[in-house]
């Protein structure tokens, strides 16, 4: 005996599994965006030294390390911005993109896991603590990142979520000497 509910579900499944085509150029447009991304992204940085806050994060391959596994937020030195003659190795023989902008800056990627945020900004001594100066982009849903070229030496920073919420990096040292608390990092490299 037929079961009307089951019959309906069978029919529904068949209908919903029918293809729903998009414009024939859809695949090409996707690849166009991916190629544009590949060109504009700082993909020349193949490997970086996790110099911010010592060697805690160890080595990372590629663009993003295993930062999220470590905690809620963080900062990752990707290495210096590569030039044609930039690749070298450190004392342990590991590759380092040694050259940088005028040989002084290192590219540091800041990452914040904020699944419910609509916007995340980075503020710090390197951008005058202006909330609109460095916006993080949402890569994977809920993960916000920005790469910033920083001079070697100490820096203080914080995140501003949804224009209102001041968030320090919970796995970095925090200083609260005056005003709002801020996180600290030290970028290695010769000045």
């Amino acid at each position: 005996m037929s079961d009307p509910r089951r019959d309906f579900e069978t029919w529904l499944g068949g209908e919903l599994r029918r293809p729903a085509q998009l414009d024939p150029g859809s695949r090409a447009r996707i690849m166009q965006r991916v190629r544009t991304e590949a060109r504009t992204e700082a993909r020349t940085v193949e490997r970086g030294r996790a110099s911010a806050r010592g060697n805690r994060r160890g080595w990372v391959a590629g663009q993003v390390g295993a930062l999220l596994a470590a905690g809620v937020a963080g900062v990752l030195a990707l290495g210096t911005i590569d030039r044609l003659n930039g690749a070298g190795s450190d004392t342990a023989g590991r590759p380092v993109a040694a050259a940088s902008i005028r040989d002084t800056l290192r590219l540091v990627r800041f990452v914040l896991a904020a699944p419910t945020a609509s916007s995340v900004a980075l503020v710090g001594d390197f951008n005058g603590w202006r909330a609109g100066a460095t916006l993080l982009a949402e890569g994977e849903p809920g993960t916000w990142t920005a790469a910033v070229a920083l001079a070697p030496g100490p820096h203080r920073y914080a995140f501003v979520v949804d224009d209102t919420q001041w968030v320090t990096d919970p796995i970095a040292p925090v200083i609260a000497d005056s005003g709002r608390p801020s996180s600290t990092l030290f970028v290695e490299g010769s000045r």
Binding site: L16, P19, L22, S26, R27, I30, R33, V34, A38, L68
Partner: protein, 187 residues
């Protein structure tokens, strides 16, 4: 032999961006089907699809071999579609302070069916309209269950909802769809 998803991912991570194209080819139609039915609008669906692949590309080094690439991609798409729905709702609230009217899904029901009867086409349009009447979480659950044929455990891992909540949602959504389609029949 065709390279596996994992082999293609490795090639992309090694700098061969063209190796991403076969991944797009492999998963495009399945993702498009979900996005069109979920959003009821081909332009929004294409945008969601583009953003999904782009996000996947950006996050590729976080993809783990033990996870199926298709499932990983699908999770990104589901979140992407949720963002589109939420954005529409926010915009509608801002503009009118009124209930959001879903777009006319009937405008994008299916792939143009060849040789289908007139009655079949009408029924499909009615189904598209009925789907649009469902709240977004219910529509999402129905599509994952019946179009993607996922198990409830797989659905739970993608949506973040519990298995029993999902079962209930699917059951209610089916009952609602049936009653909407029967209403149309009676008119």
């Amino acid at each position: 032999m065709e390279p596996t998803d994992t082999q293609l991912v490795r090639r992309v991570l090694d700098g061969d961006v063209d190796a991403f194209a076969p991944l797009v080819d492999r998963y495009h139609d399945r993702l498009a089907r979900y996005a069109v039915r979920m959003l009821g609008d081909r332009e929004d669906a294409e945008e969601a699809l583009q953003d999904t692949f782009l996000r996947a590309y950006r996050a590729l080094d976080r993809y783990r071999d033990e996870e199926r690439f298709g499932g990983w991609l699908f999770r990104i798409l589901v979140n992407q579609c949720r963002s589109v729905v939420a954005r529409r709702q926010r915009r509608a609230e801002l503009l009118a302070g009124a209930r959001w009217d879903p777009p006319a899904v009937a405008a994008a029901p299916d792939a143009e069916g060849e040789g289908e009867g007139e009655g079949e086409g009408e029924l499909r349009e009615e189904l598209a309209r009925a789907l649009a009447e469902l709240p977004a979480p219910a529509r999402e659950a129905v599509l994952l269950r019946y179009a993607e044929e996922l198990t409830y455990e797989e659905m739970a891992s993608i949506t973040g909802s519990g298995v029993s909540a999902l079962k209930m949602r699917v059951q209610r959504a089916c009952a609602r769809l049936r009653s909407l389609l029967l209403e149309v029949d009676r008119v």
